[in-house]
């Protein structure tokens, strides 16, 4: 059942990325993975290989080249249209055994965070989740993977000394995509098929529901637009929701807004609510008592909008916008 890792490290080469699909389209995080892989491949004098599993996507191959892929390995099969952990892990295990990539990168999405751990166990590989920085030793090919742990309060650097491939997942919007170069062409395109034994003992997908709802789960959101007492009431939060919709953000609130009955408790950020660690946090009319700061100080970029420039939040923000939220937020929403 489990492979033993007896093949010498030197037998592994090239940097693979697993393309993230959004239906038949390739999602933007794939381009970010290609950008990260390009840097690693150049350091190692190796190629970037994009692996695409899905159904009906052939036209996107030029994009993969333009964003940095040297080769593409793909399987185009309607059984891959909906994401099936066991089937994909079975197929990828075979490809990894056959082609031996040195590094395997995937997106830290619901799919990647389910599939790649399964794959790492099956291939006896080391896996590091949610990396924010990846560097490679040009000589040894050892990948240094830096990731936040403990809710962002610690950065851990992790390596995989003896096992190959070295697997890592990266959250969307963390790595930079390269500017696309449509003069680049692919060295090879290889089509793979699902083998019959790879469909044994796999789940059945009964139905796929696509609903474009804003991220209500604060813990999973990448951007949060949050309001405080100065929002004056539930109407103020409707205004924030409009901005959040434009940004693909979730809406948060400070405790007084929940205590006043303006927002459900699930939206409360702070010591007695949720702790969030997003790429962007836009605080609207929140003064920033310590109980609130505890819940959001791990966010990467903090923007505060407030009439009072001297609040704790305005002082700690990366961007402090001094003015009336009821004027600035609608203007900003229009512009986005």
């Amino acid at each position: 059942m489990i492979l033993t890792n007896e093949i010498p490290k030197e037998a592994y080469r090239n940097i693979w990325i697993l393309a993230e699909m959004n239906g038949e389209a390739i999602s933007p995080v794939t381009h970010e993975l290609l950008g990260a892989a390009r840097g690693l491949a150049e350091a190692r004098g190796a190629d970037v290989v994009a692996v695409v599993l899905g159904s009906g996507f052939e036209s996107t191959v030029e994009d993969l080249a333009a964003y940095g892929a040297d080769s593409v390995i793909y399987a185009d099969d309607k059984r891959l249209a909906a994401y099936n952990d066991e089937l994909e892990a079975n197929l990828l295990t075979r490809l990894i055994k056959a082609y031996r990539p040195e590094v395997f990168l995937g997106a830290a999405t619901a799919r990647g965070r389910a599939l790649i751990p399964r794959l790492a166990v099956k291939t006896v590989s080391g896996l590091t989740a949610d990396c924010t920085e990846l560097t490679i030793d040009a000589e040894t090919g050892e990948l240094h993977q830096t990731r936040p742990a403990f809710g962002g309060n610690l950065m851990a650097t992790i390596k995989t000394p003896n096992h190959r491939p070295q697997m890592a997942t990266v959250r969307p919007r963390v790595m930079k995509a390269l500017d696309p170069d449509y003069t680049r062409s692919l060295q090879s395109i290889v089509r793979e098929e699902i083998l019959p034994e790879e469909t044994e003992n796999i789940k059945r997908i009964l139905e796929t529901v696509r609903e474009h709802q804003g991220a209500v789960n604060l813990g999973d959101a990448q951007i949060i637009v949050s309001g405080g007492r100065a929002m004056k009431g539930p109407e103020g939060f409707k205004m924030l929701q409009a901005l959040a919709d434009k940004l693909g953000a979730a809406v948060g609130a400070s405790r007084p807004c929940i205590d006043a009955g303006w927002m459900p408790y699930a939206h409360q950020i702070g010591q007695t609510g949720q702790t969030v660690q997003t790429k962007l946090y836009i605080a609207c009319g929140i003064s920033g008592q310590i109980q609130h700061l505890v819940g959001m100080q791990g966010c990467d970029t903090i923007i505060a909008i407030d009439k009072n420039p001297n609040t704790p939040l305005m002082q700690m923000a990366d961007v402090a916008v001094c003015g009336d939220v009821f004027e600035i937020v609608p203007e900003l929403t229009k512009l986005l």
Binding site: I258, Y265, Q268, T272, Q289
Partner: protein, 272 residues
């Protein structure tokens, strides 16, 4: 909630054991000792409800498990909005059966661990979250025999707090407990003026640690404020002769005797 006639009486806060404690049996014993002592003094026992969002056992289940006496006039149980509907109903029914009559209804501190009542569960409309107002109105409707109090926070913007107090009184609140104050407070004075007919109980902070008070009220009280809890209590008793007093974080070993003296209880009087 009347003590001995003509004398000052106190409401003494007791915190039940926390779920996370490593010594629950010992904590229960301590709870029982404090409970009995406060009852014996003729004071009112006030039991918190998952204070600071930290999961603790419910007052009534501790009383029941420990077989403690229930004197309805000397017992007040805090109840906040972080309960499942089923637990809320069971709690109220159990309390009712045990003879508990007084409750302090507060919005309370949440945590991931605590369920939050949903508006439809307390028949509330026009609010996104259940606050003390909706909870109080619902209990008043279904348990009219209970006497329900509410909290007042003089550290919040007064306009908001007084507006909310209007709604609390309209919902049926019949007594008010303030957040701790450590000196004469203009906002509390305003409260007393506005509600001359509603008993106001002032919370006195009995810990020397002012940073804990800052945490409790969500307002930073400078650490270098000169403060001695018992002296402050004596001053507050003089400033607010018409009010009851609620003592939080009372030191049973170091402070209790003096508090009994202030209530006119002589040392020998509480021996039996």
């Amino acid at each position: 909630m009347q003590g001995q006639a003509g004398k000052r009486t106190f409401e003494v806060e007791i915190i039940p054991p926390k779920h996370a404690s490593d010594k629950i049996p010992a904590d229960l014993q301590l709870f029982a000792d404090k409970y009995k002592r406060v009852m014996d003094s003729g004071f009112t026992v006030c039991i918190t409800d998952n204070a600071m969002g930290l999961l603790a056992f419910q007052g009534h289940e501790c009383i029941e498990y420990l077989g403690l006496p229930v004197k309805p006039e000397q017992l007040s149980i805090h109840l906040n909005t972080f309960h499942s509907k089923a637990d809320l109903v069971k709690l109220l029914d159990d309390c009712n059966a045990m003879g508990v009559r007084n409750f302090l209804i507060i919005s309370g501190d949440g945590s991931d661990r605590l369920p939050k009542l949903q508006p439809h569960e307390v028949e509330a409309e026009g609010t996104a979250s259940v606050t003390s107002v909706e909870l109080l109105a619902w209990i008043k409707k279904h348990y009219p025999q209970f006497k329900l109090g509410v909290a007042f926070n003089p550290y919040e913007p007064p306009e908001d707090e007084f507006e909310k107090m209007e709604r609390k009184i309209a919902a049926g609140a019949s007594f008010i407990v303030t957040q701790p104050i450590i000196e004469k407070n203009a906002i509390v004075d305003e409260l007393l003026e506005k509600y001359p007919d509603v008993p106001v109980i002032i919370e006195a902070w009995m810990s020397k640690k002012l940073h804990l008070l800052s945490d409790a009220v969500g307002y930073t009280i400078p650490e270098d404020t000169p403060f001695d809890p018992l002296t402050t209590l004596e001053q507050l008793l003089e400033i607010y002769p018409q009010c009851g007093f609620y003592l939080s974080i009372l030191g049973f070993k170091t402070q209790y005797g003096r508090v009994e003296e202030l209530a006119g209880i002589t040392k020998g009087g509480d021996a039996q």
